[in-house]
Every structure is written in structure tokens, then in C-alpha cells.
């Protein structure tokens, strides 16, 4: 599914307003959450996502990272330069082909991942109390539907 804004749509004003308000709440909450990551862990929200991605997937080619995060390679280069200076990620050359560069996590990056992961698990435990099996299942279906929409 991809977004086509020229398509005629049946509108339910209340429904759209409710969805808009929810997206606004989410934007607001994520922004505050990102500030919290910056203050508590000394990295940006994107750097934390990069750490999570490389830790979960193993060393990744720069191209694969840029595609996953939909960031231009030139932009990613400067982001990784900063992350390397901060010693949370490092570039390593492939043993098979020295021209190929992989992005890997450092010990400091792993430590951050563990700390933030523990924090997220604790947050998840708290959020769990707000859901029932049924409401979580409904929420998750919506999450899948939203994830399948191509925003391009």
C-alpha cells in the first residue's frame, strides 16, 4: 500500500481528527523521548537506533545501513564520523574485500545498548499493565497495517 493523496477518500471528520491527534501525541512523545536519550545517554535518538540496528543485525555494510534508515550515504558518513568520535560505533574493512566497509558496534556502544535495552524493557513492563491480551492484539494488527503503508 502506498500513499496517493490524489485519491478520493471517504472522510469521517471525527475519525481523522482523532487519528491526527494521536499522531501529534506520538510526535510529541517521541521528541521528548529523544531529548531524554540525548540527556541520559549522550547520543542522539538516531545514534541509539544505529546502535540497536548493528547490535541486532551484526556488522552491516554502510550501503545497507543507509538503505535501512533511508539516509543518503553522504549524510550517513558524517553521522558515522561523529559516532566513531564518540566511540559508540566503528568502521571495519571486510576481510574478503578490503574496499568494502562494515559498520560494527564498540564495547561502549554495546554497554549503551544494554543500558537502554534494560530501560526499554522496564518501560515495556509498565506499558504492559495498560493492555489486555485483546487490546494488545488489536493494537498490534494496527501496527502491522501502518508498517505496510509505503510513505514515498
Amino acid at each position: 500500500m502506498s500513499v496517493d493523496q490524489n485519491k478520493t477518500i471517504a472522510t469521517d471528520t471525527d475519525q481523522v481528527s482523532r487519528f491526527e491527534a494521536s499522531m501529534m501525541n506520538l510526535t510529541h512523545a517521541f521528541r521528548i523521548h529523544q531529548s531524554f536519550i540525548r540527556d541520559k545517554y549522550g547520543v542522539s535518538g538516531l545514534e541509539m537506533e544505529l546502535i540497536q540496528y548493528v547490535q541486532a543485525q551484526g556488522p552491516q555494510k554502510m550501503k545497507a545501513v543507509s538503505e535501512h534508515f533511508r539516509i543518503k550515504l553522504s549524510t550517513l558518513t558524517s553521522i558515522i564520523d561523529k559516532a566513531e568520535e564518540n566511540k559508540i560505533l566503528r568502521r571495519v574493512n571486510s576481510k574478503e574485500d578490503r574496499r568494502v566497509v562494515f559498520l560494527d558496534i564498540t564495547a561502549k556502544g554495546e554497554k549503551l545498548y544494554e543500558e537502554y535495552g534494560g530501560f526499554l524493557r522496564e518501560a515495556a513492563r509498565r506499558i504492559m499493565g495498560e493492555f489486555t491480551d485483546d487490546s494488545y492484539s488489536q493494537f498490534h494488527k494496527g501496527l502491522e497495517a501502518f508498517a505496510s503503508i509505503r510513505l514515498d
Binding site: S22, A29, R31, E49, R121, Q138
Partner: protein, 158 residues
């Protein structure tokens, strides 16, 4: 723990699945942010400010700073940028010239209407692929998570 997408068989409400859902929601949010930046040439925060003044009418800079919990100095440079894009404008109060209000411009209103249409399309696409319970369950779930991931509701002292 990783950011993998959950499968049908792993829908059980537990800590690992919920943590994965948080990662997934973060990924969706990032896509939404990227889309706004690419299509409308504003950041998600700038769009929030445009939404705010469009819906609420003109607001004092101080009120906006408080609402978004942003220092006035940071807000000033954000507003400079969207004012240069002619999406908002600063106006001096007629009662007290020292007081500065921010209000939406015609271009800003047009952008907001366009953004609202994008939200309508997303909402309709979601509506088409979900039943009533799932659709409302998703929105309620997003609101719950939005509320729970802000610092005052988080275990910040860990």
C-alpha cells in the same frame, strides 16, 4: 531482543513482544518524520508548531515555548527558519508592542491542509485494512504508549 516484526504466533502480551512493538512504532514514526521532511521541507517539530498555531490561532512565543517545552532561544531559531519559508509570521501585539505573537500565513495554512489530507489518506488506508476494534485499538494503543514514554512516566532513575 531485536527489532524484528512480530509474527501471528507471537502475539502474546509479554515484555519481549511489547519491546519489539516499541521498536516497530519507533521505525514507523521515523518513516513518518522522513516523509514530512521530504514532502513538506519541515521537521516534525516545525510541523507540530504549524499545526498548533493553525488550530489554536495566534500564540505568544512564550506560550509556544512552554507548550512544546522548548527554551525560548531554541524556539527563536526554529521560528526564524519557518518564518523564512513564509509558513508563519511574527506580529507585535497592538496592546503591548513588546509582546510578539506567532500566527499562521496563507502558505502555512495551505501546507497544513495538505498535511491533513495525508493524515486522512493514512487513516482511510488503515480503516480499509482493519476492523473497528483493531482501528480504535491501534489509536488507543498509540495514545497509551505516547503517554507512557514521556520522562515523567518512565523509570528515569534506573
Amino acid at each position: 531482543m531485536d527489532a524484528k516484526i512480530l509474527t501471528e504466533s507471537s502475539l502474546q502480551l509479554d515484555e519481549n513482544n511489547l519491546t519489539s512493538s516499541l521498536y516497530e512504532l519507533n521505525d514507523i514514526y521515523r518513516k513518518h518524520q522522513d516523509y514530512i521532511r521530504t514532502k513538506y521541507k519541515v521537521t516534525a517539530l516545525e510541523m507540530e508548531i504549524i499545526q498548533f498555531v493553525s488550530k489554536e490561532g495566534k500564540k505568544k512565543m512564550k506560550e509556544i515555548g512552554e507548550y512544546f517545552d522548548i527554551k525560548l532561544s531554541t524556539l527563536t531559531s526554529i521560528i526564524d527558519k519557518i518564518e523564512n519559508q513564509r509558513l508563519v509570521k511574527r506580529v507585535n501585539s497592538k496592546e503591548d508592542r513588546r509582546v510578539v505573537y506567532l500566527e499562521i500565513t496563507k502558505k502555512g495554512e495551505k501546507l497544513y491542509v495538505d498535511y491533513l489530507r495525508y493524515i486522512q489518506v493514512i487513516s482511510q488506508m488503515m480503516r480499509n485494512s482493519l476492523d473497528d476494534g483493531q482501528y480504535h485499538g491501534f489509536i488507543t494503543g498509540m495514545d497509551t504508549i505516547s503517554q507512557m514514554i514521556v520522562p515523567q512516566n518512565l523509570p528515569v532513575n534506573q
